[in-house]
Symmetry: C2
Subunit: 365 residues, 2 copies
Amino acid sequence: MNRSASTARPSPTRTPTLQAIADAVGVHRATAARALDPAKRHLISAEVVERVQREAQRLGYRRDVIAASLRTGRSRLVGVLLPDLANPVFAPILGGIGSALSAHGYSVLVADGGSDEKQQIETVEQLLARRVDGLVLATATRRDAVVTACLKAKIPTVLVNRAEDKERVAAVVTDDISGMRLSVQHLIELGHRRIGHIAGPENLSTGVLRRRGFEAAMAEAGLDGSMVVTAQAYSRSAGRQACATLLDTYPVTAIAASNDLLALGAYLELRTRDLSCPDDVSVVGHNDMPLVDMVDPPLTTVHIEQVTMGEEAARLLLERMEADAPTPVVTKVTPPVLVTRASTFAPAAVEGQMKRRRAHAARAR
Amino acid sequence: MNRSASTARPSPTRTPTLQAIADAVGVHRATAARALDPAKRHLISAEVVERVQREAQRLGYRRDVIAASLRTGRSRLVGVLLPDLANPVFAPILGGIGSALSAHGYSVLVADGGSDEKQQIETVEQLLARRVDGLVLATATRRDAVVTACLKAKIPTVLVNRAEDKERVAAVVTDDISGMRLSVQHLIELGHRRIGHIAGPENLSTGVLRRRGFEAAMAEAGLDGSMVVTAQAYSRSAGRQACATLLDTYPVTAIAASNDLLALGAYLELRTRDLSCPDDVSVVGHNDMPLVDMVDPPLTTVHIEQVTMGEEAARLLLERMEADAPTPVVTKVTPPVLVTRASTFAPAAVEGQMKRRRAHAARAR
DNA sequence: GGGATCTATGCGATCGATTGCAGGTTGTCA
DNA sequence: TGACAACCTGCAATCGATCGCATAGATCCC
């Protein structure tokens, strides 16, 4: 029964291998492997399965994923490329991806791609060298060289949050156009007519799509949609600068920002000019990041389901990784929701009108 | 020169292996491996090194990390266990860890341990099955079963942000006691005497140490340090609840919270009671998370260098992973810094005194 | 000029799990 | 009883890189 001339001499502290279990039970390691694999268990007699499982339990056996990966060519590892690991904005997305993937036995390899495209490609190649089974990119620009690289490497890839202009791979995004439309319509309903837009970077889908949404909504209402300043990055300082330019150039009563950070940058600029938000200028953000409900004033913004987007991206990726046939390129769009808080209000002129109307009504009584 | 009867028939699309390079150059794969390894390159003649490198370049060769891991037993993978992936609070720490590790050729496997200790251990075991070379735990409780498991598995481990009571493994934390002392001293200097504390969970080091810091600072000033309510979690709702209890029980003029989220919870409770912060009650937070400079009122808090802590944790772990001898258990402490903003002010009584004094001075003129 | 030393490279086992194929045993049916 | 199927289990190659050991050739020294 015993394997004769066993050269393996596992030191007692080392983690046990299949061979150790097989030796202890008195079967071949292949048999032990099958007994421990739910998908192959039916091939083995119930009695042997039982004994192998018991022994595995006793020894604290854990299948060596590395060895299995080498043999099968599948690492059950997914690479997630973020523009900036330290940026809290991406945490919810990462959380969604992680929970959906770990439920299916995959682990997440996070990587900070940085902003440089060359560096991002280098990072992806490192992930590839680790034999990741798939990739989630939160870094996509509108025409992204990283995506090209992924396509060439034939690795299942899903974009999240940002998409390319041309649909080359699956993506999960929000409906940026209608999200911004919600912002603008809200402002118009409040009575605003001179509405400015702080646009996001032009190389990002969110930047241009939201701008397009702004222009469309303004055009539909028969208003001038040309009061636009583009911020160089999604940051408070860029937002502040853009807001300054906007205020210097156009007589706006409201600002629809492409992003919450840009909106908060606008807050800063308004404050230095001693302008009140919302009394002098209304501001709408985008994304509904954590804590914007507690800033001063609480920010009206467009809520994005980031955790859900992450989960959805993971699901799409799972499909693509398990499939043997090529899967269709799809784009999942999650609906944005306007969250009205205190940074938006009727413009002074309209407010004046309303006051007059109220006064008139009072006199008439 | 050619390997005879080569059974390997690499399909053109497959990623090239060492064997492919060796075949192309006409050397053994071991030679090719050495030529590509900077540490072993000197063993090989310059001319062969040159040819191998050129061929590797041409074929787009990337060393298969999985295969190398199997052979060497080192995965160059580090597991990072977070209490909650989706929580933005941990992003800066993760960023610090990631950047420091990737600079040394390691990749980060993130895992969401959840709050349940059993689940955390299960998660760690999955990381272990992936043969991670080391672990960073951001989840540590004061007496942590996960740490015990890591110790038993003899895997290099570093704690970050939270530590255990007993120093069993290396850790990187802030000086929680003196951080809270800064808060309290600041309030005392403003003239507050009746200061309450919203403590963090008792099973976390940050919770008890900051509480201890609070009590110590109050005692040093000869004040009553017993006005303490413990929150069940680091969350806004828990902070709000604790604040309610605190206000119902003690006549405080200021609150030192164990954490920014607790402080923001206090904001909410104060607002529902129509109390002004800072006019009626001053509030100090802890951590200086993003955006607390823009809440209403901007939060006075204690700044923590989270990115630096993450980097430091990574450095400690690197040492431990590369070392062959057991390394000493150390605890790195980063100094906290008070950031004074608008949520703290002199208490009404003192302010009254000051007004009177000012008035008196005016009359005297 | 013969042995010693050094250098560059080849050889083949190894890490641990997986899997196609083969072989042995038991059961079934005519 | 013989043929065949069904069911278990074993065998050995395989994934790709690594490294201790062996060896061929070059160099050196007295």
